[in-house]
């Protein structure tokens, strides 16, 4: 999607990186603003400020912390992930995206002070020299949707490939992989795709690349030596389970198992506060047709026996292709991890933060 306008915060006017980003995106308008509130005020005049915000970038310096442990959700098991967020917001418009209810700013916020992010990272690594971490930029943003114009993915890859105790993940629903041309593959960098069967993606993942294109990109990068991940998340009950099984088969047909770092499974869940947003912004969505009930964290979910059964079927199929595939669950209880995955959550979490060659249990042949 085209970026129509860039809002430039006063604190970033003289920033060199901000100037380069503006040049590369060449938007119709650049507006200097005091802060993010001014961008909201501007975008509120449109009937759907969120949609307009997805075509807008707010460039500013971020004074806060870039790195944070993924909060997961209360009462469910965390996978031990860390979020690093130089970008917050996304041009893709998935109906189920919780950012619509979570973020308070309409435009995509791009923080130009990457130097601060790196120095924060250095301090963090100094404090934890022996620990292993898995972190990525794909929780509050799509890691590749604004690339290569943004230029952050390449910078981050070059930085993290040198960090021996980190597995760095770029998570996306886009298909543009031009930025990887000329970059040397690294085992510590995982490029992962969130996937859903085409029928569900067409309905619920507006402006995302077609699923086949995502898989083609994944295959191309795997063939170039990169490590790939897949997230079946959120799994939706809009399509029969056979569609998910066919998608698993297709993934393993296209991407060699030895290149797949992990596969996550997570079924749809969202806070009830997202319901009105979903109704207003995505009237054609079929998400709310599902049988959704509040879980222990208050988020709406499909019934657990139904989730359990579907996970079981999907895990069986993945393991049929590769019995050493590292599978984990997203925002599910620990007892369900143990029951369905057969290994201790602690072991799974430990190996998730290791490059494939260093793993003991989950190293596909």
């Amino acid at each position: 999607m085209k970026i129509k306008r860039i809002f430039l915060a006063k604190n970033a006017v003289k920033n060199k990186r901000a100037g380069e980003i503006i040049k590369r995106f060449a938007p119709e308008k650049v507006r200097e603003v005091d802060d993010v509130l001014a961008t909201n005020e501007y975008l509120e005049k449109f009937p759907d400020p969120w949609a307009e915000g997805k075509q807008s970038i707010f460039l500013c310096k971020f004074p806060g912390q870039f790195l944070e442990p993924c909060p997961c959700t209360k009462e469910y098991l965390s996978c031990g992930y860390f979020n690093i967020s130089p970008v917050v917001g996304c041009p893709i418009d998935c109906s189920y995206c919780i950012l619509q209810g979570y973020l308070t700013a309409f435009p995509i916020q791009v923080y130009v002070n990457l130097e601060d992010l790196f120095s924060e990272m250095e301090n963090f690594l100094k404090k934890h020299p022996r620990s292993r971490f898995r972190l990525g930029t794909g929780e509050l943003a799509d890691s590749l949707a604004l690339e290569p114009k943004l230029g952050y993915a390449k910078t981050l890859i070059e930085y993290f490939r040198e960090k021996q105790n980190i597995v760095f993940e770029l998570k996306t629903k886009a298909d543009g992989i031009g930025l990887f041309k000329g970059l040397k593959a690294s085992e510590q960098i995982v490029i992962s795709w969130s996937v859903n069967p085409a029928e569900a993606a067409e309905l619920e993942e507006k402006f995302a690349a077609e699923v086949d294109s995502r898989l083609n990109s994944a295959a191309a990068l795997a063939n170039a030596g990169w490590t790939i991940g897949f997230h079946f998340d959120p799994i939706l009950d809009l399509v029969p389970e056979e569609k998910y099984l066919a998608l698993i088969d297709k993934i393993f047909e296209m991407v060699p198992a030895r290149r797949i770092a992990f596969i996550s499974l997570g079924m749809l869940r969202f806070p009830p506060s997202l319901k009105p947003v979903l109704k207003d912004r995505h009237p054609r969505s079929r998400i709310l047709c599902g049988e959704l009930f509040p879980g222990k964290d208050g988020k709406l979910r499909y019934l657990r026996p139904f989730r359990e059964k579907l996970y079981q079927v999907l895990i069986r199929r993945i393991r049929k292709h590769n019995d050493r595939a590292l599978i984990y669950l997203c925002m599910e209880p620990g007892w369900l991890w143990e029951k369905l995955l057969g290994d201790s959550p602690a072991l799974i979490k430990k190996e998730l933060a290791l490059p494939l060659s260093e793993r003991r249990r989950f190293r596909p042949e």
Binding site: E44, F46, P47, R304, K309
Partner: protein, 324 residues
């Protein structure tokens, strides 16, 4: 000071009241009649002088009440011709009504539409009018409100009377005319606001899920039988309809819950014990509530629970095999 309004006694016969400004919908005139009868007119109507004579812009209900009481004249605050444009007159009327008696959803819809006709865009309507009056105030809300004016009269009255908010009013508006027609039983049965919301929400979700119309969903034999049952009162019918629709809306939950009830029966768990799945079967856990009283044999109840827990069905409570 020549632009200030003056309090005047005016002849009702000479007063025109164009619909441009009217902001009352489905307001009961009775209390106002009673009040005027007792103490007379206590607040003046608002008028402006135009080339065509005196024009009323706020106080339509007062005018109707005074006429009904046979009054020939009334007190009015009258603005001189050049002092008040049509937009400003509407602005005065809007705030006089919105901030004193409040506007129901349909009156808000009328206001949104009238502002549009007066050339006020949605953003300005949102910021300069609705927001200041504490009403739904996004551009999208103003546009959704405007659409409510096209609803059928019966629905407008219902939405106003039941104080249905914009979200659900708008959802109803998005339904096809035939679906709204099918939902009209809610009007005749006198559904409460929550019953209206619940039924609309369930039927709307099912129509999307099953890719069919609400009309078709409501023509199911179980629902039709309830609606046609002459022995049931309106509240009973509504109650049964909600229950049946819940089963249709959440078939998997219904199946799980029926299985659970069946297991509880088979395990011969005594009636004094309530065994319920916690958080909609979210965990492999159940909540047990036991009612004990002086005359109830506590030992017997506990023994029955213990016996049940040793039986083969107890395990089934926590496992769902393929047949389930």
């Amino acid at each position: 000071m020549k632009n200030n309004p003056a309090l005047e006694k005016i002849a009702l016969a000479h007063l025109s009241g164009p619909e441009t400004y009217r902001l009352s919908f489905n307001r009961a005139i009775g209390p106002l009649l009673k009040s005027i009868r007792e103490v007379g007119q206590t607040s003046p109507m608002l008028c402006r002088k135009t080339g065509k004579g005196l024009e009323l812009f706020s106080g339509y209900l007062r005018k109707e009440a005074l006429k009904e009481l046979g009054k020939k004249s009334a007190l009015a605050l009258v603005w001189p011709g050049s002092a008040l444009s049509a937009v400003t007159a509407f602005r005065v009327a809007f705030f006089e009504n919105a901030l004193t008696r409040g506007l129901n959803t349909i009156e808000q819809a009328m206001a949104a539409q009238k502002l549009k006709r007066l050339g006020v865009n949605s953003k300005e309507a949102a910021v300069s009018y609705f927001q200041k009056a504490g009403l739904p105030a996004s551009v999208a809300a103003i546009e959704a409100l405007s659409e409510l004016n096209d609803l059928e009269a019966g629905w407008k009255i219902f939405l106003a009377q039941k104080q249905v908010g914009l979200r659900y009013a708008s959802q109803l508006c998005r339904c096809s005319a035939s679906d709204r027609k099918a939902l009209e039983f809610l009007l005749s049965l006198g559904a409460t606001t929550s019953q209206f919301r619940e039924i609309l929400e369930m039927t709307d979700a099912m129509s999307k899920r099953d890719q069919t119309g609400i009309e078709e969903i409501l023509s199911g034999p179980e629902l039709v039988a309830v609606l046609r049952n002459k022995k049931l009162s309106a509240p009973e019918k509504l109650d049964l309809l909600v229950k049946s629709l819940k089963k249709m809306r959440h078939p998997n939950f219904h199946k799980l819950y029926s299985r659970h009830q069946e297991l509880v029966r088979e395990m011969k768990i005594p009636g004094e014990v309530k065994l319920e799945p916690s958080d909609y079967f979210e965990g492999p856990e159940y909540k047990m509530e036991i009612t004990l009283g002086k005359s109830l044999p506590a030992r017997e109840i506990f023994e029955k629970i213990l016996a049940a827990s040793r039986g083969k069905d107890w395990e089934k409570l926590f496992e769902f095999d393929d047949e389930d």
